[in-house]
């Protein structure tokens, strides 16, 4: 989705404000939201891609106005309601994340593999063009890269494809590459000649160029 979250290259957002000796959480509730979010996702009713798409689907004005963990709170309230987790009789079937499991849970993340049955469509050194796609669903192909030509710098192995996984349309596992785009290809000739941006891209985001 061409949403407000896809910020790379936007202008007018002002200088970067950084705070010295910043705490991990600025209020107790932020820590609780962080933890509730992890505990709820551990139930397996939704995946990280689904979750990201909900954040991206916030009304743009809300996305910009809400603080980071307030966005998380909003999305968890929505997901709890959508999945009827608080409805009568909904509990019990799903065991809660325990304290012991919480530590272990932190040791798990998004699976990848070197599955040899999934063949790469590109090799390191290939010239590739990022597809000009504009899906209304979830995608991790940022707007600023679409239609641009780069070079495959590294093959990172096989990963679930977020564009389908977010909508529970299958994992469509495929290779992910670091693709190097010259800054001038992305932003024009005013940009520093040597500079570049490396973007991680799935097979389905690329064509040979």
């Amino acid at each position: 989705m061409n949403g407000i979250h896809d910020m790379g290259g936007m202008q007018g957002m002002g200088p970067v404000q950084h705070e010295a000796n910043e705490p991990v959480f600025h209020a107790e509730w932020e820590g609780r939201v962080f933890a509730i979010n992890a505990a709820l996702r551990a139930m397996g009713r939704w995946n990280l891609d689904t979750w990201r798409f909900r954040i991206e689907s916030l009304a743009p004005v809300d996305y910009l106005r809400l603080t980071y963990y307030d966005r998380w709170l909003r999305i968890n309230e929505e997901l709890v309601a959508k999945h009827g987790l608080l409805a009568a009789g909904s509990a019990k079937a799903i065991p809660a994340l325990t304290a012991a499991a919480a530590s272990q849970r932190l040791g798990r993340g998004v699976p990848s593999s070197d599955d040899p049955t999934v063949k790469p469509q590109f090799r390191v050194g290939d010239r590739v063009r990022a597809r000009n796609i504009n899906p209304v669903g979830h995608t991790r192909l940022p707007r600023y890269a679409r239609g641009k030509v780069g070079v495959v710098a590294r093959d990172h192995g096989v990963y679930t494809f977020p564009d389908t996984n977010a909508h529970l349309e299958g994992e469509h596992r495929q290779h992910v590459y670091s693709v190097r785009f010259a800054a001038r290809e992305l932003w024009g000739d005013e940009t520093a000649r040597k500079d570049s941006v490396y973007i991680d891209m799935w097979d389905d985001y690329l064509d040979h160029a």
Partner: protein, 197 residues
């Protein structure tokens, strides 16, 4: 008169909403408050940029470790005992006199939790996410990190599940320092690439 009433469109104080959500989930048996305590404590007190600093100091001191780190970062980082979610697919980017690396997530807030903890507010801000890719030198300047025209700036946009950490250049004059002293020198901002040491 309405100028100070904008807050009324916000549903309510997030602190109250979180309390309500947690109470309801606990009452339903869907969430164990002790598990929430463990999660908060882990990221407030156990996981943070000191982990990354240890990795960097070790790489400065041990060329064999550095080689392993650059070739297979997850395994080399796990050697020091740092494993957790959002860091399974780590990549280490080495800064040199010729190359300066900068890490961003333009689409959300992807960040290498096991070695740096949770990201600071500025890393998640619209200002940083929008500008890091189009004007990295301007952003670096604002962080007090000017980069010369002869240096190549490489920006890494974390759009997939790879997580990036910068291996900063070891400062001159630190040859006699111990690992502990080196760890104390390494900052989070240097490992994101917005600062030099």
């Amino acid at each position: 008169m309405a100028h100070d009433h904008d807050h009324q469109v916000v549903p309510s104080d997030p602190a109250l909403r979180v309390k309500a959500l947690e109470s309801l989930l606990v009452e339903k048996g869907l969430v164990d408050p002790a598990a929430l305590d463990v999660l908060v404590d882990t990221f407030e007190n156990k996981v943070g940029p000191r982990n990354g600093a240890r990795v960097v100091a070790r790489a400065w001191l041990d060329p064999e470790y550095k080689k392993r780190l650059l070739e297979d970062a997850p395994a080399a980082i796990a050697e020091l005992g740092y494993t957790s979610g959002q860091g399974e697919h780590m990549v280490v980017l080495e800064n040199t006199p010729e190359v300066h690396n900068l890490v961003v997530c333009t689409l959300c807030s992807c960040y290498p939790w096991p070695v740096l903890g949770l990201p600071p507010v500025w890393y998640k801000s619209a200002a940083y996410r929008s500008r890091a890719v189009i004007d990295p030198r301007g952003v670096l300047q604002e962080f007090g990190t000017p980069v010369g025209d002869d240096v190549e700036v490489r920006v890494w946009d974390s759009t997939a599940e790879l997580r990036y950490i910068v291996l900063p250049e070891r400062p001159a004059g630190t040859e006699t320092l111990s690992e502990e002293e080196l760890v104390a020198l390494v900052t989070r901002n240097a490992m994101v690439g917005v600062a030099k040491l």
